[in-house]
């Protein structure tokens, strides 16, 4: 019945609240197995990307055999329409995609931390300005925004990075700002302000460290959004340009021969899905770790 369930909830919430202090020290420091798997997958992909730098899977531009060959000895993921082995090309593609996405996410994180925290702490006109810009960006569909950027900046890596930043930044700024607003109201921030602490100290020592968890978690999610934006943009021809390989470029090129040589899109496609999936799983784990909804231990 309605009343009893409510009652249960309150009892639990209250008890949790009253014991937070003593339980904090024992809070789980480790990620759960699923997120660890995600982390492992991601590290594996990074390793693969690094491997492509030393041509661990072969030279991505070398022609190794006949065109459009199915997977077999010498070309474990098949060959493309020019007779290049797909394995080194997918490895290079993973590298390009991860590099562009991470670079973009770092820009997003830095901008969000700066503007989000400042807007959250200072409020006023700066806050209004930041929030209106964010809303404006938010109201555009992600892919339309990306194409717009590519049209202005010209297709290429820069367009890809700029698009990822513009697509991921609105959500990140909002969440960082919200977290900063919550932290700014806490007594230790007020006490520091009363002590005469200046803005750099308050933002850097008190607010940033306490919203860092939010930035890390959102950064992880932004990375997976970035990978899919890069994929989509390059697929449409607005992002990375051939002959450089990225996962999006490979899928675009493979699409032409989808019926004749499906392995051309299966390889990069599976890697793309794997990358996004493992990053999302890792993000969930980080979120539970940094922003626990409820303290687990009691009393």
């Amino acid at each position: 019945m309605n009343r009893t369930t409510r009652v249960k909830g309150t009892a639990r919430a209250k008890r949790t609240a009253s014991v937070k202090g003593t339980a904090g020290g024992r809070r789980a420091r480790r990620l759960d197995p699923l997120s660890l798997t995600g982390l492992g997958c991601l590290l594996l992909l990074v390793l693969v990307a690094l491997g492509s730098l030393v041509h661990a899977g072969g030279d991505p531009d070398a022609i190794v055999g006949p065109r459009l060959q199915p997977p077999g000895p010498g070309w474990w993921l098949g060959t493309d329409n020019l007779g290049r082995s797909m394995l080194p090309r997918v490895m290079e593609g993973v590298g390009t995609t991860l590099l562009l996405s991470s670079a973009a996410v770092l820009v997003t994180a830095a901008l969000s931390a700066g503007f989000g925290i400042l807007a959250g702490y200072r409020g006023g006109y700066l806050n209004e300005l930041v929030m209106r810009v964010v809303e404006l960006l938010y109201s555009f569909p992600a892919i339309v925004l990306a194409i717009l950027v590519a049209a202005v900046a010209g297709p290429g890596q820069l367009a890809a990075v700029a698009s990822i930043v513009l697509v991921t930044i609105p959500l990140m700024i909002r969440l960082v700002r919200a977290a900063a607003v919550a932290v700014a109201e806490r007594d230790y921030v007020t006490a520091a302000a009363i002590s005469g602490a200046g803005l750099p100290r308050i933002l850097g020592r008190h607010i940033l460290p306490n919203v860092a968890g939010t930035i890390a978690v959102q950064g992880t999610y932004a990375l997976s959004v970035g990978i899919s934006v890069e994929g989509g943009l390059s697929f449409l021809g607005f992002g990375v340009q051939p002959p450089q390989a990225s996962l999006g470029v490979l899928i675009r090129q493979g699409g032409t021969y989808m019926m004749a040589a499906p392995w051309l899109i299966i390889g990069p496609g599976v890697v793309l899905v794997l990358a996004i999936l493992s990053i999302n799983v890792l993000g969930d784990g980080l979120r539970d770790r940094f922003e626990p909804r409820e303290t687990r231990a009691l009393i």
Binding site: K20, G21, T22, G24, G25, R186, D187, Y188, T190, A191, A192, A193, I194, S195, G196, A197, G198, R201, R205, H206, P209, N210
Partner: protein, 245 residues
């Protein structure tokens, strides 16, 4: 007078545009705290005591009236006041930065002044009855009472002439409250700072204050010696607070 509020009014406007209503959080409040004195401020939620605290700390500009700290209006730059005024605030759970060690938190007011804490941190911790080893711990390892002790150590480290205690013991258990209140009295006897002690609990206020001001609906309804508040306060509302103890 270390702090002087004369006829202070603070108004907020709330509500949607065109239908804005004005709300006076403080209406013609005059209060003063002398050097070395503790003024207790009692009031319930919505009485305006939180706004009064913010005005006293220079965090809220009055709509009208004057505020003087140590004989002068609040300086434009907060830094000019650094170290001379400190606060111990309500929530023990949020009074300390969870990402800073206790020692760093206690030393912060000195760091703001560009001074080296040196041996002052262990000293300050001992003054509030904590072992110097606490300096290396993080806030989540401490109980509520211990955290409020740390807040007091942080407030004291610059030897300020004025400290605001805003509901500083309200969230603590009764037996711990008395420990903290006794500590406050002892430290004040030793260092002679003036204090504004704000609480909804007349019992706690009466125990530490020299004089008591009672707020209700944004106005001060009575100001009198603490002794009077043990026996016969004048205003009916004060008497009602006394009876409910």
């Amino acid at each position: 007078m270390i702090l002087d509020l004369t006829d202070v009014t603070v108004s907020f406007t709330t509500g949607p545009p065109l239908r804005r209503t004005r709300l006076d959080a403080m209406r013609g409040v005059s209060l003063s705290v002398a050097e070395g004195e503790t003024l207790g401020l009692v009031g319930e939620s919505g009485s305006g005591k939180t706004t009064t605290s913010r005005v006293a700390l220079g965090l809220q500009r009055p709509t009208s009236g004057t505020v003087r700290f140590d004989g002068r209006p609040f300086p434009r730059r907060r830094k000019d006041l650094a170290g001379r005024m400190q606060a111990v605030l309500q929530h023990p759970h949020w009074s300390l930065n969870p990402r800073m060690r206790i020692g760093q938190s206690v030393a912060e007011p000195l760091a703001v002044l560009g001074k080296d804490a040196g041996s002052l941190v262990p000293e300050a911790l001992e003054q509030v009855g904590l072992e110097p080893g606490f300096a290396d711990r993080y806030p989540h390892e401490l109980s509520g009472g211990q955290r409020q002790r740390v807040s007091i150590a942080r407030a004291l480290i610059t030897r300020p002439s004025f400290i605001v205690f805003d509901e500083a013991v309200s969230a603590l258990d009764v037996s711990v409250q008395v420990q903290i209140l006794n500590l406050l009295k002892d430290l004040q006897a030793e260092y002679g700072f003036a204090a504004l002690f704000i609480s909804h609990d007349l019992g706690a206020v009466r125990y530490v204050a020299d004089r008591i001001a009672v707020m209700r609906g944004g106005e001060v309804v009575e100001t009198a010696d603490a002794v009077t508040f043990y026996s016969a306060p004048e205003h009916p509302y004060s008497r009602q607070l006394l009876e409910s103890l």
